[in-house]
Symmetry: C2
Subunit: 702 residues, 2 copies
């Protein structure tokens, strides 16, 4: 279900000034007691327990029911048995409460009956305007306002240090798990929201709300299924505008995992490949692992940005320096040799004799580390080097002057810094120093930061797309004429493509041999003949194609011979005509088309075609609308960049032409809902020109 | 420098019964004091300090010099200034000491002068038979014999728990770093050896020694450059034979990193791609990151093997289950749905109502975890499931009954287990439970274990390769006839290939048009004509090629026309003859050949060819000798397996033919040292047949 913008905002739900809890309990080992104890920890406003019998819950006077509340609080936490939830939430709405956090399980995740219960809950939200988190979640934390409406931590565990990081997780249990890890890793979590079954509010909606909050600087999310693609994309654009990185971890990528996700979230899981492509298109970083999600939160939370990719690696171990330089390269960073005067400067600060290196990696050797003054001086120098944009330094977790110097350096520079340490340390966490325990992870984080810092302009707003009524009308006429057939003839399909400005082979549809001869003369050069029939999807199997016919005689003979063969091999096929088609050369064959994803709708795909189409199943995917620059960038991601930069790859004009075709296919898919699928194969590329030589379009008739 | 097998073994050096230390100091903050304090910690035999002035060092009576020692100890640690090292080591050898661990820096890593000093050290080792670790290292640890001849830990840090893991690191500093991390991660290190500049003993030699030690079960190594490829390969084969996994982390993969490695180790760095390929061929696992090296040590150290890839994932969080199932798939494992009766069994142990899943991932929900008895029962059941080979379970680092149950389960099953925890815990470390902090890392470890457990038969022993004298002689005659030319004519190159049983196009070398016509008739079908000249490397640029000539007339005309064009466009080219060549069809074009790596020698490469050769630069690499089965397996790794299993990929007979060609190219490279490079491009594949259509061979004349 898609929530429209016209519904009440999430402020009362997520930033309440007063709270009630239905199901609050005196038994702290039970969820109702654990959540209520959390609510009491830091919230400055009123927190009212609702309890049918107990007079007092954890020291607070209790009310019999929601109706008995002295005033309509902003938010109610609901932790009562599933069967009672709908009525309780309806009561909350009736009492004027703005939002409810429904912890209770036993809804859509349990089967048909639970699904029905959940639908009723959704209906209450929709009709009354109350906004809901959950059900089947562990609640949320808004640390800035002291709201601990959750059981992700127990009341005896320390509260996280509030900071700019927001984490939104569909899964409650995993959200709790990752929150524990985030705290251990020194992440400053200001917000944690688990959305559970998403009867009302979903991950995209929470992100859309949080991106506007001034205290939020980084948006992390963990999802299994994305319910609101338009809101997600709008959030991604807004986040880029506000310079707030968004990082997403997606579960349910494999078939087996998707099976598990569908069983426990009771929702359809879209294609992970499509989600990745949409994220890439709109600047959302997709984390490959849970630790990467946290690693990126760690590098982004101090808000520093990189002026470029040049990184100094400083270490007391040559071996570690080499490994970090490897990882820098792997992450798209450079480790430039420092200019001689800078090296002389550094050398002057090192002990004598000095067996390390000042080149970069700067290898101070263990001797320097053992001399605190020297180590500090070298560290401060490299942090200020005009030849670099970022700094990575290696240390041991053991406290001492070296780590003191690192903290001082971090606090006096405004450049991005990543420290590789044997373990996380309290000292670094207290000072906010981004710390990693593996060279790859440290460099990957700096690499992501450099890429984010250098991101391009905002992609166009999908909402701004305006259809072209004239071409829509003409294309619809062509499609309607084919009804009730759902697979258009090649000749029709290419007329539709041509209407959208996509270059196709010169060709004419004819109905006898002499017309074919005349058409061939107009088309020019040797031609191909193809029988057009709704019953011949595989033309070559039925002999329904002839290639390279030159001159009237060959065309005439080929025509007759072909029709005779088709009549013999596929007598049931009704021949709608014969296509006389230009033969186009190809140095490279691409395949491109449109498919519709259940979550994100139409997606334009381009990949390598021809003989190797089965061997190499890689494609660039874009969600329309997009511009030609975006399409060219996506082409650059194909085959590790070699499609553009390989010696036999696409030339400049070819690249532009392919990008333009992608843009047009996207417009077509947006304008013509009834087009279910387009497959242009091959798209022939040679000598600066690109041309659709065959095309399959599948439509639905209204 | 390659150490031959005839040199003294490493037993006295690495398992000494008595030790002396030259440079032992009373100042514990200095390296000489720190290492000596370590030596005194756990060694049961005599440890003699050598000191020119002090009577007593750290409580032990000191000797004035090596010559004053009361008996020839097995091993001496040397930590004196670089200038004194050569004399000290010579004295050690003269006194009958078996080995020396040279800590001192200031050798080859510092430039030409240091390099000379190091060469003298090598010479002392070679002439006297004393074996050396270092120089420029941090020493070694043999925990089983209580030898702490190092400063990787200080004497106030706890000793590692001795166990089956051996870690050999070229880099001392990084070795120390990784050792600290290994201890934190619960790795049971029995051996740590840093080899430093490798004046005598190198990483391969230490691994060769350790693989035979009964207490060693897992061999981890960190290298920047591999000095003894034959020993390394022999060790890899021996490790596979003894069922002892070898895992290697290589630094210096990128150009920038290689620059750093060359500067601080003063050695040539071979190609990382070639090293990867050799490791794959001989069953050595290449870790991609430092943490992966440790993760694999963690999963291998208990010696458990997997009967198969079927994994049960058990979690209290649906979201974590989905992520783990993703990662299982990513790691090549399966997460099979459990049979109904097993699911019924599990369900009976769960609380009521139960909103989790018994399917797999088994989602116990937080309710079950909160009921210790139920959690333990479910855990023990899944650990004993007949439907699985391995178990992954998720927990929080907080101590409690759930973690007690995990320890009990681990100790009662003999199956591989990986626990995903928010952090490492003392309880799990004490019990040896393999623990991971990230889903990908846990599953990657289980995946590597499953792959290792299912490894195939030992690859053939390179030492058993016997050259075929007859074909060597014939090939050498062909090569000699081309002298002084170093690039053989295509016609000559293909005769060499044919002599090795590699199928080439049917072809004849002729010298006039009429001979061409006759040859074309014998070759059959349409033919190609190619001018053979040492001065025409790019035939088509000079018009020196004609394709698809059919019949006497076309051949005759083509011949004359071609020679006229060449005479006009490349008048300086001496024409050695014209090759009349069969035209062979191609559904797929491959390119294959031989190149020589500075470290590993000849390597056979096969990759995709044709128009896309520049676009797709991926190749399978094998070090000869190898058998056809190994070659077929390598082909299976190309293009993500699609070269074999794609719809248009290689058929069964084509795959066999390509594999056979690879084997033959390998034999050729081994037998003919003078062949510097072979480039067969294209290798045409169609209809079950494979044929070399062009070939370039570069030779050196003796």
């Amino acid at each position: 279900m898609t929530m429209t913008e016209s519904r009440p905002a999430l402020d009362r739900l997520l930033s309440p000034r007063s709270i009630a809890m239905v199901g609050a309990s005196n038994a702290r080992t039970r969820i109702g007691g654990s959540v209520f104890a959390n609510l009491l920890r830091a919230f400055p406003g009123e927190v009212h327990p609702i309890h049918p019998k107990d007079e007092v819950v954890q020291g607070r006077p209790a009310f019999r029911s929601v109706a008995h509340l002295p005033e309509p609080v902003d938010m109610a936490v609901v932790a009562v048995p599933a069967a009672a939830v709908v009525d309780v939430v309806a009561e909350c709405a009736a009492r004027g409460i703005g939002g409810a956090t429904v912890i209770t399980s036993g809804f859509a995740e349990t089967g048909a009956e639970g699904r029905e219960l959940q639908d009723r809950l959704t209906e209450v939200a929709r009709t009354t305007g109350i906004r809901l988190i959950g059900p089947n979640c562990i609640g949320y934390m808004n640390a800035h306002d002291g709201v601990m409406a959750n059981f992700m931590l127990t009341a005896d565990e320390p509260l996280p240090i509030a900071g700019p990081v927001a984490l939104v997780s569909q899964s409650g249990g995993f959200g709790s798990y990752i929150t524990h890890k985030a705290i251990l890793a020194g992440l400053r979590l200001g917000w944690f929201v688990s959305t559970g079954n998403e009867a009302d509010v979903n991950v995209a909606g929470v992100l859309r709300h949080l991106v506007e909050r001034p205290e939020v600087g980084v948006l992390l999310s963990f999802i299994e299924t994305l319910r609101d693609p338009e809101v997600f994309i709008a959030t991604a654009r807004r986040a880029a505008e506000l310079d707030k990185p968004m990082v997403l971890l997606k579960a349910g990528r494999s078939e087996e995992a998707a099976r598990a996700a569908m069983s426990h979230t009771a929702s359809i899981v879209g294609s992970a490949t499509v989600l990745d492509a949409v994220c890439r298109q709109y600047g959302v970083i997709v984390a490959q692992t849970m630790e990467e999600l946290l690693d990126l939160g760690t590098i982004f939370q101090d808000g520093r940005r990189a002026r470029g990719p040049r990184t100094i690696v400083m270490t007391a171990s040559g071996g570690a320096g080499v490994l970090l330089a490897d990882e820098a390269r792997h992450a798209g960073l450079s480790v430039p040799v420092l200019p001689e005067e800078e090296q002389r400067d550094l050398a002057a600060k090192m002990p004598v004799p000095f067996y390390g290196s000042t080149g970069n990696p700067v290898d101070t050797t263990a001797q320097t580390t053992a001399m605190p003054g020297a180590y500090r001086q070298v560290l401060m120098s490299v942090a200020g080097s005009p030849s670099a944009d970022m700094l990575a330094a290696v240390t041991w977790a053991t406290p001492g002057p070296a780590n003191d110097a690192i903290v001082e350096m971090y606090q006096t520079t405004d450049r991005p810094v990543a420290i590789l340490s044997t373990a996380w340390t309290e000292q670094f966490q207290a000072a906010g120093v981004p710390t990693y325990t593996d060279p790859r992870r440290a460099m990957a984080a700096l690499g992501a930061l450099a890429a984010y810092s250098a991101r391009g302009p905002l992609p166009p707003d999908p909402a701004a797309f305006v259809p072209d009524a004239a071409r829509v009308r003409e294309a619809r006429e062509l499609i309607a004429a084919a009804a009730p057939q759902t697979v258009l003839l090649e000749s029709t399909g290419k007329r539709v493509l041509a209407r959208y400005g996509i270059p196709v082979t010169r060709e004419e549809l004819v109905h006898d041999a002499e017309a074919a001869v005349e058409a061939a003369a107009r088309v020019g050069g040797p031609v191909a003949l193809k029988v057009m029939s709704y019953r011949l999807p595989h033309k070559s199997d039925a002999g329904a194609i002839r290639l390279g016919l030159a001159g009237a005689e060959e065309v005439r003979a080929g025509y007759r011979d072909m029709l005779a063969e088709v009549a013999a091999r596929a007598p049931e096929a009704v021949v709608e005509g014969v296509l006389v088609q230009q033969m186009v050369p190809a140095r490279l064959e691409l395949t491109c088309g449109v498919q519709r994803d259940p979550v994100f709708g139409p997606m334009v795909a381009v990949g390598l075609g021809g003989v190797l189409v089965e061997v190499l199943a890689e494609a660039a995917l874009l969600r329309p609308p997009f511009d030609a620059a975006t399409a060219e960038k996506a082409l650059g991601g194909l085959l590790g960049g070699r499609l553009l930069h390989g010696r036999r790859g696409l030339s400049e004009p070819e690249r532009r032409a392919v990008a333009e075709i992608m843009v047009r296919l996207g417009e077509l898919a947006l304008e013509l809902d009834e087009v279910a699928e387009i497959d242009v194969n091959p798209l022939r590329v040679a000598d600066g020109r690109v041309c659709a030589a065959d095309a399959l379009i599948v439509v639905r008739h209204g």
